[in-house]
């Protein structure tokens, strides 16, 4: 009976549209198996995340406004060592305004999928002043800015940052921030190939010293993060295979693979 139940569950999973990302994370405290499973519903997706000793169940939804914009939102409830936790997030843009926010709490970190601890949050607002000019304001507390899918070592406990970006073929970014000491922000992003390959460089200098570089080649993407006091990482995505090695007080590595079906 149990075998039929498992067969039924496996058949159900394989028929639904979904994704599975699974891998191993290792640091001096030992290896951790980490996985994320997402199943598409008619509208939105339910997902489960596991990185012992913590796991989460969540739902994410989205609303597409065609060429006008796109909104995505979600929440996850967590259970693990230390007690309950949870995260709510939303992101998207409509016309000239883009917003990204994330707010969460967990008693203890459980890398690689639950790297933050305590209360954490961030809010980033961008506004298109003119077709080629964008101003931005970002606030982050105990969580890095940027995608949550990589670990981003060496990010300060908090920062407040303003930026101005001008697109003239390439995009040039200038900005300043506090973390808590003042720093300057310089960025360059542009196409470096015939097929839309992109190089993205972002440098913070002064009270915060940090270089983030990304090279996007299509089937492969390469990332480098370097921060002082010394911390950093190199990451590569080769198709659906992700490799990341870094250092933040201690070395770590993360290898993962993503499947999508049908």
């Amino acid at each position: 009976m149990g075998r039929f139940l498992w067969l039924g569950i496996l058949l159900g999973l394989s028929l639904a549209q979904g994704r599975l990302e699974a891998g191993v994370y290792g640091d001096p405290s030992g290896p951790v198996f980490a996985m994320e499973l997402g199943l598409s519903l008619e509208e939105g997706e339910v997902f489960a995340r596991l990185a012992p000793p913590r796991g989460a169940l969540g739902y994410s939804g989205s609303l597409s406004l065609g060429p006008l914009g796109f909104l995505a939102f979600g929440r996850q409830a967590e259970l693990g060592e230390g007690g309950l936790g949870g995260v709510v997030y939303g992101e998207g843009g409509v016309g000239p305004v883009a917003l990204e926010g994330r707010l969460g709490y967990r008693p203890q970190a459980a890398p690689p999928l639950f790297p933050e601890a305590g209360g954490f949050g961030r809010l980033a607002l961008r506004y298109r002043l003119a077709p080629k000019e964008v101003v931005g304001l970002a606030l982050a507390y105990r969580t890095p800015l940027g995608p949550s899918s990589s670990l981003q070592p060496g990010f300060p406990p908090w920062l407040l940052e303003g930026s101005y970006a001008l697109r003239e073929e390439a995009t040039y970014t200038l900005g300043a921030g506090l973390a808590p000491r003042p720093y300057a922000l310089l960025g360059w992003k542009g196409e470096v190939g015939e097929e839309g390959e992109v190089l993205d460089l972002l440098l913070r200098l002064g009270g915060l010293n940090r270089l983030e570089a990304g090279l996007y080649l299509g089937e492969a993407s390469l990332f480098l993060t370097l921060a002082y006091p010394w911390a950093g990482s190199v990451e590569a995505w080769l198709g659906d295979l992700g490799l990341e090695m870094g250092y933040e007080g201690a070395p770590y590595a993360w290898v993962r693979y993503a499947w999508r079906w049908p």
Binding site: S62, L68, E191, G196, S221
Partner: protein, 214 residues
């Protein structure tokens, strides 16, 4: 003289007969636009911020059922583009650097006052609007057939008018209206030309874009 009148009458009857149905006109447009082409669409739309100017470039590879609409105006849409494939609609959003891929049936757009899909793919347009032939009108580009019809539900507009150039069957003007007859979008097709386009060119997007599948 009588013979001439008869011949002229026959030609007139024949030309009317050839253009009797909407389907025939759409077939002629489809046949005429069966090779790669590009055009500029300009006009006014009723956007979220009120009436705005719209300027967009349309690229079409009809045999591959592939269309691309690149937005130049309003400024808040500059850099955004829509790609329509056989089964999907891709919307690239410059500000958030996202490529949102939706199945065609999920991709109907509310709030823009018109369907970008219809600008390139006229046969699809006819699936969402019950068009009928209202007659012929003289436009600066030449004599055009005027088609109009009620939209099926969920299109973001209630009624549309379409003007098709008779001498070189292709759309000249799209007019989208709401239930009260208010113009939601009035778009003219200009700078039409045959072009040498490739599938890769029409599907091109920045490689660092976040791809979101819905």
């Amino acid at each position: 003289m009588r013979r001439l009148v008869m011949v002229l009458g026959f030609v007139a009857w024949l030309s009317l007969g050839l253009a009797q149905s909407v389907q025939e006109i759409l077939d002629r447009v489809e046949k005429n636009l069966s090779t790669p082409w590009q055009a500029t669409v300009q006009g006014r739309i009723q956007g979220p911020a009120g009436e705005e100017e719209l300027l967009a470039r349309v690229y079409a590879l009809p045999q591959a059922r592939l269309f691309r609409v690149e937005f130049l105006k309003p400024g808040s849409l500059e850099g955004n583009f829509t790609v329509i494939t056989e089964k999907e609609v891709w919307n690239y959003l410059y500000l958030t650097n996202q490529l949102v891929i939706s199945p065609k049936e999920k991709a109907q757009v509310q709030g823009l006052g018109f369907s970008p899909q219809g600008l390139g793919d006229i046969r699809s347009l006819a699936k969402w609007v019950s068009l009928r032939l209202e007659g012929e009108v003289r436009l600066p580009e030449g004599v055009a057939w005027k088609l109009s019809g009620q939209a099926k539900e969920g299109q973001g507009f209630a009624r549309m008018e379409l003007y098709v150039l008779k001498a070189d069957p292709r759309p000249l003007r799209f007019l989208f209206l709401d239930e009260g007859g208010k113009v939601l979008a009035d778009l003219k097709v200009v700078e039409f030309k045959r072009a040498n386009l490739t599938e890769a060119r029409l599907k091109r997007y920045p490689k660092d874009a976040q791809v979101v599948r819905r």
